[in-house]
């Protein structure tokens, strides 16, 4: 992304001390994120990282880069506004399963529909972490947690399957226990032009006693391992994404390169080379 830039892993270093639980999936996610940014030669001052409110958001000051830590459930529209103002800068947004699928699910649906060229990374740990262990739409039915002591009576949302039904531009699933896969998926997602959705099945050692690191690890496989998997085939993607119980498909599940991103579709921006940030005084 940056011609001639020398980017080191340590460029993303922060002096602040992490406040996550021991064995939290977020550590590995940060590591994979930094590795992918270094691989893409993106220096910290040429990326905007936007965080939702939740445990993952508490890492906002533990990594380098231009960063915004906003409101619960609202990270997507903020990131989209930032992206449209400077479509030349990569914008990566992060949200938890609570903030994204409860409070802000409308934003997710519309971002897929509008196909804004940003990357969105969902930290799916199957519960509210920061507010100390309540259920979310991705918690399994029957799960007893703080707000549901008698067990969750509602059905679970399979996020990837749900989004694939919207004919998205890029959908991937990965696992916080696999740094290499996360790094590779992040690189693909950031490089993809359009709305790139990445779900991370994330271990929450403190509150998620059901889908533990070990349990997720025993179920996941990479679609690359399948002989005849075509990530450009939507029905195949829908099929493999459905199973969350026995064998969980991960990797880049689906992408569509023919879909134009929102900015490129804007008739008023055709033949205009500048970004909006360079036009305020020169309009």
């Amino acid at each position: 992304m940056c011609n001639g830039c020398k980017v080191k892993y340590s460029d993303y270093y922060s002096d602040n001390i992490y406040t996550w639980c021991t064995n939290c999936g977020n550590y590995a996610i940060h590591q994979a994120l930094k590795r992918s940014l270094v691989k893409l030669k993106i220096p910290p001052y040429q990326v905007l990282l936007c965080f939702d409110i939740g445990c993952h958001g508490n890492g906002a000051d533990k990594i380098g880069g231009y960063r915004f830590h906003g409101l619960h459930g609202r990270v997507i529209p903020f990131a989209v506004g930032a992206h449209l103002a400077n479509h030349k800068m990569p914008v990566i947004a992060f949200g938890g399963d609570g903030g994204t699928l409860d409070e802000g699910i409308n934003h997710l649906i519309h971002a897929v529909r509008s196909n804004y060229n940003i990357t969105f990374i969902l930290h799916n740990n199957g519960n509210f972490g920061l507010t100390k262990g309540q259920v979310t739409p991705t918690s399994p039915k029957g799960l007893a947690m703080n707000s549901n002591p008698f067990g969750l009576i509602e059905d679970q949302i399979n996020v990837c399957k749900f989004l694939l039904n919207l004919e998205p531009s890029f959908v991937a699933r990965t696992f916080s226990g696999n740094i290499h896969q996360m790094e590779r998926v992040f690189v693909d997602a950031i490089t993809h032009k359009g709305f790139s959705f990445v779900e991370i099945l994330q271990a929450c050692p403190t509150y998620n006693k059901v889908n533990t690191h070990e349990k997720i690890y025993s179920k996941v496989y990479d679609v690359d391992e399948l002989d005849d998997y075509d990530p450009q085939n939507l029905s195949q993607a829908l099929k493999v994404s459905s199973d969350l119980d026995n064998k969980i498909a991960t990797g880049v599940l689906y992408f569509n390169k023919t879909k134009k991103d929102f900015y490129s579709r804007l008739p008023q921006r055709l033949n205009r080379n500048k970004a909006l940030i360079d036009e305020v005084k020169n309009y």
């Binding site: 602040n16 220096p43 910290p44 001052y45 040429q46 905007l48 936007c50 409110i53 508490n58 906002a60 000051d61 380098g64 880069g65 231009y66 960063r67 915004f68 830590h69 906003g70 409101l71 609202r74 529209p77 903020f78 990131a79 989209v80 506004g81 930032a82 992206h83 449209l84 103002a85 400077n86 800068m89 409308n106 934003h107 519309h110 804007l266 008739p267 008023q268 921006r269 205009r272 970004a275 909006l276 940030i277 036009e279 305020v280 005084k281 309009y283």
Partner: protein
């Protein structure tokens, strides 16, 4: 009333009332008259009754009379609703077949010595084999003739309007000629207006168009909104002009999104705006709080209509002052400005951006349906304010450090730069933070950062527009108001016999207490005029200035203050 005349076209929504109002306005402008166009319409697409009133004068006017000298009626329901608005000696011309007046209606006409004339437009149009919807053009042309003006002016305006619709134009021209002929055979209507000087470049414009144009001129490059009356026409205007301006105009999925996108674009370093009405603003309040905390500039136009809930969607009020001042959790500095006319719509929009960027705070620009959708006459070009961004630029970018972003300063304002412009990266944090944005829960640091933000009020008070005093600088009565109240009060003062002054507030928050006390101290009695039930402005003044009002004239029926009722009120003082 000397030097003012008013014509009201009434009918059902969908009968072309607005088109006739606009056409007639342009015809008057062509002659050099000023017009003020006031529209009433229900919140539905077809049916119900609607009106377009034109007040006309040789001098600049910005208000409506409650009563009209001429009423052109196109439907029975509309006539019953508006018949009582006829002025003394006025004329009602209509095409309602078998118009049976009630006893009350007869009484009104009699007591006002008004005349009512039926024109059988149906038979006339049948003869021409034309659709009945052309009755509006016919009647407008008939009145134009009876006012003694030239038919060519009307013809030219229609030609301009329908230059791409030959068939419609032809039918309209036929109706104009016929209506004019008919009208010329009837008695003249005395309008009593002075002959205006012919002026070049008069145009009619709504308050919303003035805001939209001002935004374009001050470098707003993105506009995000969810449609809501009476803010929607800003979205419409900007969208219609997007190809020329290159502005990104996006109808968002809701107001939460619109506000967040606006904030995101501003954070990145461009200028972006959003506009909504009360209900949509409610959804934006968390974002306004976020703007306050992260010190990100934010500008929102809040176009008021009567509430609560859905309220009266297409009517006017100024009842969201408290909302604008107090919206959002926590305490943070903000600025609330209120428009009143075209000039202030233009100036305050640009000033809102300068203030928002300079102080890195949210700014709310209040307007009202009566300003947003009324048609004003524009006779001058408004000057654009210099664009003040307060961004670090050029070589200085290389010397920045992350701590500069929220550095403690005497003014509370720290350095801000376009994202990506410097190697000094930082975090903008909705959690309480230290100078580089890193989270903190340290008591003294938290208190210091809190105070840093609030300190901005000191500088803000030095740059906000001063309250304007109209009339004598001292005396018995001082009327005080904000928003559209100014329009009818200033027009009324010109006609009233009493010597009163009017103090107009453009900045509702923060208040410059010293300046206000200084001005108000020279008067004995204060009278608040407000378009809401609680007297929201006057309550704040009472609280901040420890004064009391002799009277508060509060109106909250969805209608603006009409100039005739203001004159009556002033004369009774």
């Amino acid at each position: 009333m000397k030097n003012r005349f008013s014509v009201k076209i009434v009918g059902e929504s969908g009968q072309g009332i607005n088109l006739m109002g606009e056409v007639l306005s342009k015809a008057f402008l062509e002659l050099g008259y000023y017009v003020f166009g006031y529209r009433e319409y229900p919140s539905l697409i077809k049916g119900g009754s609607a009106s377009y009133q034109l007040d006309i004068s040789a001098q600049n006017i910005n208000s409506s009379f409650k009563s009209s000298n001429v009423i052109i009626g196109l439907s029975r329901i509309a006539l019953s609703q508006y018949l009582s608005d006829i002025s003394d000696g006025g004329l009602i011309v209509h095409n309602v077949v078998k118009f049976q007046k009630s006893e009350a209606e007869n009484h009104i006409l009699k007591s006002k010595n008004a005349s009512e004339e039926f024109i059988d437009t149906n038979s006339l149009l049948d003869k021409l084999n034309l659709n009945y919807r052309y009755a509006n053009t016919f009647l407008v042309s008939l009145i134009w003739a009876r006012l003694g003006f030239d038919v060519e002016i009307l013809q030219e305006i229609f030609k301009e309007y329908f230059k791409e619709r030959d068939d419609i134009l032809e039918n309209n021209l036929t109706c104009i000629n016929l209506g004019f002929e008919e009208g010329s055979n009837q008695s003249l209507v005395e309008h009593g207006l002075d002959k205006p000087e012919k002026k070049a470049n008069l145009e009619i414009m709504t308050g919303n168009e003035a805001i939209a144009r001002s935004a374009i001129a001050c470098g707003v490059r993105a506009f995000y909104a969810y449609p809501m009356t009476p803010a929607s026409s800003i979205l419409e205007y900007l969208a219609n002009n997007a190809i020329n301006t290159g502005m990104i105009v996006k109808q968002a999925e809701d107001e939460i999104t619109a506000a967040q996108m606006t904030l995101g674009s501003m954070f990145m370093g461009t200028r972006a705006m959003t506009a909504t009405s009360g209900g949509g603003f409610d959804l934006m309040t968390e974002t306004i709080s976020l703007a306050g905390m992260t010190e990100t500039p934010f500008v929102c136009v809040l176009a008021q209509r009567p509430g609560p809930a859905t309220g009266l969607p297409t009517w006017t009020q100024a009842g969201d002052l408290n909302l604008a001042i107090f919206a959002g959790h926590g305490e943070f500095p903000r600025c609330v400005l209120a428009c009143s006319d075209l000039e202030s719509c233009h100036r305050l929009t640009q000033q809102a951006f300068n203030i928002a960027e300079y102080f890195q705070i949210p700014v709310i620009v209040l307007t009202e349906k009566h300003i947003a959708e009324s048609y004003f006459t524009k006779d001058t070009n408004f000057e654009n304010l210099p664009i003040i961004r307060n961004l670090v630029e050029g070589k200085a970018l290389e010397k920045l450090s992350p701590n500069d972003r929220y550095q403690f300063t005497d003014s509370g304002v720290s350095k801000r730069w376009v994202i990506g412009a410097s190697k000094a990266t930082f975090l903008a944090n909705s959690d309480e933070h230290s100078e580089d944005g890193s989270v903190t829960e340290d008591a003294s640091l938290a208190q210091q950062m809190y105070e840093k933000r609030m300190k901005k009020y000191t500088g803000l008070l030095k740059v906000i527009p001063e309250p304007t005093l109209f009339g004598k600088t001292s005396g018995e009565f001082l009327l005080i108001g904000w928003g559209s109240v100014k329009l009818s009060v200033l027009d009324a003062i010109n006609f009233a016999d009493k010597n009163v002054s009017y103090l107009h507030l453009e900045v509702l928050h923060p208040l410059d207490i010293a300046k206000l006390s200084n001005i108000m101290g020279r008067f004995k009695k204060y009278i608040a005029i407000e378009q809401n039930y609680l007297g929201q402005m006057s309550k704040i003044l009472e609280m901040e200035l420890k004064i009391s009002f002799t009277d508060k004239w509060l109106k909250y029926d969805g209608r603006p203050f009409f100039v005739d009722e203001v004159i009556k009120y002033i004369n009774k003082l």
